[in-house]
Amino acid sequence: MVNAIYLIDDDASVRESLAFLLSGMQWQVKTYDSVDAFTVAHQGDTALVGCLLLDMRMPGKGGLAWLEEGEWPWPLLPVIIMTGHGTVDACRRAFRNGVFEFFTKPLDADKLIETVGLAFEESQRLLGAWQETSRIKARFELLTAREHEVLNVLMEGRSNKEAAALLSLSPRTVEAHRAAALTKLGVTSLVQAIRDYDKLQSV
């Protein structure tokens, strides 16, 4: 996935000038004149990376109102709000909805470029974490039900013997399940399996 700047503003002059400025940084800029245009273009595209430049007040749906709707389908996309009416209240609302940065118009180009750079890094970090989580999730899904059960008991800190007693299995069988599970997860020790499992839980 390549970083791209998704710019939503109802004013064509602002769109064009920002596109010019940001294209000058060799960044890919995609512009939309309304929230709906963006939504239609990227409905199921949850893995968008880069950043979203969003005007707060627009005809139709305003940026802030959109963020407050709840379910946000683009978890990897940091949002930068731009507004001509920068009240403290609007700013507070924006940050409560998890925006990355809040700008008042007119924008300062240097700050904007710096912030977009930071947003890209954030987006990549989110992407990395997301990919890692997906990989681990896929591996855990390879385990059979029995292996899962054995691994759960072992991860609670019990020895092979105790696990065998608890699950009414022979210690040797437990040993076999454990070895198979670790192989499937692609790790060499139980400690590594536990760390992966924690990453999965924290998402």
């Binding site: 602002v14 000038s17 920002l18 001509g84 180009a109």
Partner: protein, 449 residues
């Protein structure tokens, strides 16, 4: 008061006044009636007392005359002095210690001398007959109180102190219920009507004034709100192209550093388009604001000024300010729009009042005089005058000498004067107060010429 709301509240006020009047009349009528009946009682009571004293004197006379009589006196001569003695007789073999009073009939009785065998016949009827105002009046020849209820409205009963004739004078009377002086009632009612009418008018005036003040306050508020909205609108309209311009220019700077002249000139052209857009917005906005054309007419200065003074004199802040005027006969009218001139004078006067809040005895004086073709109006006050900074900036938008001021009052004043082909000049008077000179054309010809 032409609005329906006020008419309604006025009719309410009238209704309420009439109701108050009716109640007050009812109460005062009842009190007046009771007072008159009480007066009747006083008259009766005084008469009863007078009668009681007269009869008491007669009884005392009887007691003192009887021992002096021998029984041989000439009754006619005796009656000349004591007309209530009807007869004088000698008795025989009567016990001297027997009862000394022997009632004969009605108001006559025999009075016996305890030492001699004589008696006199006393008749009290003529005395009692002198009074006609009592419904019942009679003498009981005993001290025991009259237990029988007479059923009369008023009742008097008093016993005489003379121990040989211990009688009781009884009297009954009825008030003359309809005999009160009726003409006083309409007088009282009319008096109340006048009082309540005066009070209502005063109240109504105060209310009307308060309403007018509130309305003025409201208009002021509404105007400020509108101003705020307009300003927010301008800010919003201009902010977008301004953002674009800034972005274009900053983009151009970056392209310049990367030595990309084509992109630079493209960006600058785009920025230019946006600055033109801002210019167009401002022009359009000014067209919105710079409104109707005005026709200048002969306007009476004194009337305008009076109107403004009327508007401001009731303000609490203006109570200690003396306002005086002198308009020269040949400079009493100017070419102006009446409302605008009032607005100008209003701004100047309220500024003068504002400037003299800390001065115990403030004053404002307006004078007009003819100077060539124009009328020069001078408004002087007793305040601290303009600071050098204020003299410099007073007409600039958003400059205000006061903390809470918006700074548009004098700007508006100046633009109104300019649009009336007039001139406004700010000075300080030699003795320190503010002095504002207004110049307006005197008549039509000069205003065109």
């Amino acid at each position: 008061m032409t609005t329906p709301v006020n008419t309604m509240s006025n009719s309410n006020l009238i209704k309420r006044s009439i109701a108050v009047w009716a109640i007050v009349c009812l109460i005062s009528g009842a009190l007046l009636y009771a007072e008159q009946i009480r007066r009747q009682f006083w008259v009766q009571d005084r008469e009863f007392s007078a009668l009681y004293s007269t009869i008491g004197a007669v009884l005392t006379q009887n007691e003192s005359v009887l021992p002096l009589l021998s029984g041989d006196e000439d009754i006619a001569a005796l009656r000349k002095k004591f007309p209530h003695i009807l007869a004088l007789e000698k008795t025989t073999d009567r016990e001297l210690d027997a009862a000394r009073v022997e009632p004969l009939h009605d108001q006559q009785y025999w009075l016996y001398n305890p030492w001699r065998q004589i008696r006199v016949l006393i008749d009290l009827a003529p005395l009692l007959a002198t009074s006609h105002t009592f419904s019942r009046l009679h003498m009981r020849f005993s001290t025991t109180p009259d237990e029988t209820a007479s059923g009369a409205f008023w009742h008097w009963q008093r016993t005489f102190p003379q121990h040989t004739q211990p009688f009781t004078l009884n009297a009954d009377a009825e008030p003359d219920w309809l005999g009160v002086s009726w003409f006083s009632f309409p007088l009282v009612f009319f008096g109340w009507a006048v009082v309540i009418a005066v009070a209502s008018v005063a109240f109504w005036q105060r209310k009307a004034r308060k309403e007018a003040e509130q309305r003025a306050h409201y208009y002021q508020h509404a105007r400020l709100n509108t101003l705020g909205e307009i300003t927010a609108g301008i800010v919003h309209e201009i902010n977008q192209p301004l953002t674009a311009v800034q972005t274009w220019i900053q983009g151009a700077q970056r392209q310049q550093m990367q030595d990309n002249p084509q992109a630079v000139s493209q960006a600058l052209a785009a920025a230019l388009v946006q600055t033109q857009r801002i210019g167009a917005l401002l022009t359009r906005f000014r067209e919105h604001v710079v409104q109707e054309k005005v026709t200048l007419r002969d306007t009476d200065l004194a009337q305008c000024w009076q109107q403004v003074v009327n508007l401001l004199e009731h303000e609490r802040k203006a109570e200690h300010i003396t306002v005086s005027h002198h308009f020269a006969p040949d400079a009493s009218t100017v070419q102006a729009d009446r409302l605008w001139l009032e607005q100008v004078l209003h701004n100047i006067l309220s500024n003068a009042i504002q400037a003299q809040q800390d001065i115990p005895q403030g004053w404002v004086r307006i004078e007009s005089q003819k100077k060539g073709d124009v009328v020069q109006i001078t408004v002087t006050d007793g305040g601290p005058g303009f600071s050098p900074e204020a003299l410099q900036n007073a007409f600039m938008p958003f400059y205000s000498g006061r903390k809470e001021g918006i700074g548009l009052g004098m700007t508006l004043t100046e633009s109104l004067m300019t649009r009336m082909n007039g001139v406004i000049t700010l000075n300080n008077a030699p003795d320190g107060g503010a002095q504002i000179l207004l110049q307006l054309a005197n008549d039509k010809e000069t205003s065109h010429g």
